[in-house]
C-alpha cells in the first residue's frame, strides 16, 4: 500500500464523495458484504455486513444429549468443523469432570495440526496467493509457468498432508467421526501413520516456499491492537494453555468470557466482541506474536529469518504467520509421529450428569469458546464465541482508515484493496452467523 499512499498526497482527496457497495466479498469462507459512504474525503458510514443467515445452533443444541453435541455443533462450519468438535468436547469434559488420557491429548494435537495445515493451506493458496501474483483466481495459474506450476503442486501437496493427518486422527478431514468425548472411537493403522509421515515430509519444502513467498509480500496495514490467544505453557499449543494478551497479561480459560463485551451490530447477522472495551485481534498473527519462541525448533531453524519481524502489527502478516504455523504443524506432527505409538483404549467416562464446562481452543482463525451447561446429560444452555466475531469490529474500524487512505483509487481498485485487506483476517462468515444474541431494546 505504500505506493498508494504516495499517490494520495498528489490528489484532491478532500473533495471525494461517493458510495461503494460490495454485494459479496469474494475468496473468503461464506458471505459478507460492505457498504461505504464517503463525503468530502471522509468515511461517514461503513458497514461490514455478515450476510449468512443464522441457523440458531445455540437454540438447536438445547435438549440434545451430551454424546451428540460435538457432532451437531461441528455443523456450524465445514472448513473448521474439527475445531468446533474439539472445543465442544472440551466443554463437555470439563462440565462432567472427564479427564482424557495423555495419549488422547497427543492424538488431538495431531488432529488439530492436520486441521491447521489444511485450513491455512486453503486460505493461503486459494484465497490469498492470487493477490500476491496479481491474478483474480488460482484458476488463472499457468501450468506452463514453472513457478506457478510449483504453487499449484504445493497447494495439493500441503492440503493432502493436512487431510491425511485429519483422516488418521479423526477419520475425516471435516466433521471427523472418531473424535469423541473422553477419547477416540478408532485408532490409526500402521499404514495411516506411514502415509502421514511421507506426505508431511513431502509438504515441508512447500511450506518453506510459502513462508518465503508471504515474507516477501509488500502489503502493509498497521494496527496497534491488542493481540489475544490461548498460549501453551511449555510449547506452541492450540488446545491447552492460558489466554494471553499483548496488553493485559494472562487470563484462565474459564474466565475468558468475563473479559469480553458483546456488541450488537444491527446491520450484521453476527455478533461482535470487544476485549475489556477495546477492539482486539485473534488468529495466527496473535499466536505468533505472543509465542513465537515456542514454535518447533526445526521450524525456528528454517524460518528464523522471518521471526524477527514478530511481534508485528502489520495485519497482512497474519498470512505469513499462517504459513509459519503450517511449517510448525508439520514439524510438530513429525516429532509426535516419530516418538509415539497409538494403542487402542476406551474413552474416559464419568457417572456425572450435570455441570457447566468451558472449552477454549485455538481454531485456525483464532480463539474459539464453547460454554455448555449440562443438566441430566442434556444441554440446558450453550454459548459459542467464534474468532470472526471477535475480529469483526477491528476489521470494520480499520476499513474506515483503509478507505480514507486510498480514497483516490477508482472504485474497482478500491474494492480490490478492501477485499484484500478483509481476506488477510481470513474471516469465516459461516461460523460468525451460527447463533443468536440480541439486545435490540
Amino acid at each position: 500500500m505504500s505506493e498508494l499512499l504516495a499517490h494520495r498526497s498528489k490528489s484532491n482527496m478532500h473533495n471525494s464523495s461517493f458510495d461503494l457497495t460490495l454485494d459479496q466479498i469474494t475468496k473468503i469462507e461464506g458471505a459478507a458484504g460492505l457498504d461505504v459512504s464517503v463525503r468530502g474525503g471522509k468515511v461517514v458510514d461503513l458497514r461490514l455486513k455478515l450476510s449468512e443467515y443464522k441457523r440458531f445452533y445455540t437454540q438447536g443444541v438445547r435438549g440434545k444429549s451430551v454424546p451428540a453435541v460435538p457432532q451437531l455443533l461441528a455443523r456450524i462450519c465445514g472448513t473448521c468443523s474439527n475445531a468446533h468438535i474439539l472445543c465442544s468436547i472440551e466443554a463437555c469434559e470439563k462440565a462432567l469432570g472427564i479427564v482424557p488420557s495423555a495419549q488422547t491429548m497427543i492424538m488431538r494435537r495431531l488432529a488439530i495440526n492436520g486441521l491447521m495445515i489444511r485450513d491455512h493451506g486453503l486460505h493461503l493458496y486459494v484465497f490469498a496467493l492470487p493477490d500476491l501474483l496479481g491474478k483474480d483466481s488460482i484458476l488463472e495459474l499457468d501450468e506452463n509457468n514453472p513457478k506457478e506450476k510449483q504453487f499449484l503442486e504445493d497447494t495439493f501437496c500441503v492440503k493432502k498432508a493436512g487431510n491425511m493427518l485429519s483422516v488418521a486422527f479423526g477419520g475425516r478431514s471435516v466433521h471427523a467421526p472418531y473424535l469423541t468425548i473422553g477419547g477416540f472411537l478408532k485408532f490409526p493403522s500402521a499404514d495411516d501413520l506411514t502415509g502421514c509421515k511421507n506426505f508431511l515430509i513431502k509438504a515441508r519444502p512447500a511450506a518453506q516456499r510459502l513462508v518465503k513467498l508471504f515474507s516477501d509480500s509488500q502489503f502493509k496495514f498497521y494496527d496497534q491492537t491488542n493481540f489475544v490467544g490461548l498460549i501453551g505453557e511449555n510449547r506452541y499449543d492450540f488446545l491447552e494453555g492460558k489466554i494471553k494478551t499483548s496488553k493485559d497479561g494472562v487470563i484462565e480459560e474459564a474466565n475468558f468470557r468475563q473479559h469480553l463485551e458483546h456488541q450488537v451490530i444491527p446491520y450484521s447477522q453476527a455478533s461482535g466482541y470487544k476485549f475489556k472495551r477495546e477492539t482486539y485481534m485473534v488468529g495466527a498473527l496473535a499466536r505468533v506474536n505472543l509465542a513465537k519462541e515456542k514454535l518447533n525448533e526445526n521450524t525456528i531453524k528454517n524460518v528464523g529469518y522471518v521471526l524477527s519481524r514478530f511481534p508485528s502489527t502489520n495485519v497482512f502478516d497474519n498470512n505469513l504467520a499462517q504459513a509459519i504455523e503450517i511449517l510448525h504443524c508439520i514439524d510438530d506432527s513429525l516429532l509426535l509421529l516419530g516418538s509415539n505409538q497409538f494403542n487402542p483404549e476406551k474413552p474416559a467416562s464419568t457417572q456425572k450428569k450435570d455441570g457447566v464446562g468451558v472449552g477454549v481452543i485455538e481454531a485456525p482463525r483464532g480463539t474459539l469458546y464453547h460454554m455448555l451447561e449440562i443438566k441430566d446429560n442434556k444441554v440446558a444452555r450453550a454459548e459459542i464465541i467464534v474468532p470472526t466475531g471477535q475480529n469483526q469490529i477491528s476489521i470494520e474500524k480499520n476499513l474506515v482508515r483503509l478507505v480514507e487512505e486510498n480514497i483516490d483509487l477508482d472504485k474497482e481498485q478500491l474494492s480490490h484493496e478492501i477485499e484484500k485487506f478483509v481476506r488477510a483476517y481470513d474471516p469465516c462468515i459461516s461460523c460468525a452467523t451460527h447463533f443468536l444474541k440480541i439486545n435490540f431494546h
Binding site: Q24, T26, K27, I28, E29, A31, Y53, K54, R55, F56, Y57, Q59, G60, R62, L72, R75, G78, V126, P130, D136, S137, I138, L139, E140, R172, V174, H175, P266, Q269, H416, E419, L436, I438, F440
Partner: protein, 125 residues
C-alpha cells in the same frame, strides 16, 4: 471446463447460461429463493450438494423449534426478512441430481461430475 461463477474462487464472475449449477445450502430468505430461481432459469441441470441443500438439515432446525424458542429468535427473523420455514432446494426449484451427506459423499460427487462431463461433451465417455 469453464467455471463461470464461483465467488469463493475469484472476484470477477459472470452469471449467465450454465450447463450445470451446483447448489449448496438451504434457503432461509426470500432473496435466496429469488437467486436460486434465477440460477435454475439459467441452468440446464441443477445439482443439490450436501445435506442442507438436499434435506434442509441441520440448517432447518428452527423449523422444529417450540413456540418459546421461536419467540426468542423472532426479532432476528423479522429484522433480516427470513422465510417462516427453512426450505430445502427442491422445495423452491426442480433438482436434477442429489449429492447428499454432511460432508457430501465425495465418491457420489465424482460419479455425478463424470456423468455430467460426458453429457455436456467435456470429456469422452
Amino acid at each position: 471446463m469453464d467455471i463461470r461463477y464461483a465467488k469463493a474462487l475469484r472476484t470477477k464472475n459472470i452469471l449467465d447460461q450454465l450447463d450445470v449449477a451446483f447448489v449448496e445450502g438451504a434457503i432461509s430468505s426470500q432473496n435466496q429463493a429469488e437467486k436460486l430461481k434465477k440460477i435454475r432459469g439459467l441452468s440446464t441441470k441443477l445439482v443439490a450438494i450436501g445435506s442442507c441443500a438436499v434435506s434442509g438439515f441441520p440448517s432447518a432446525q428452527r423449523n422444529l423449534f417450540d413456540q418459546a424458542t421461536l419467540s426468542e429468535i423472532k426479532p432476528i427473523l423479522e429484522r433480516f426478512s427470513y422465510t417462516p420455514k427453512v426450505l430445502k432446494v427442491d422445495e423452491v426449484v426442480k433438482v436434477d441430481v442429489y449429492v447428499a451427506g454432511c460432508p457430501m459423499d465425495e465418491k457420489k460427487f465424482l460419479e455425478v461430475l463424470d456423468t455430467l462431463l460426458v453429457e455436456f461433451n467435456v470429456i469422452v465417455g
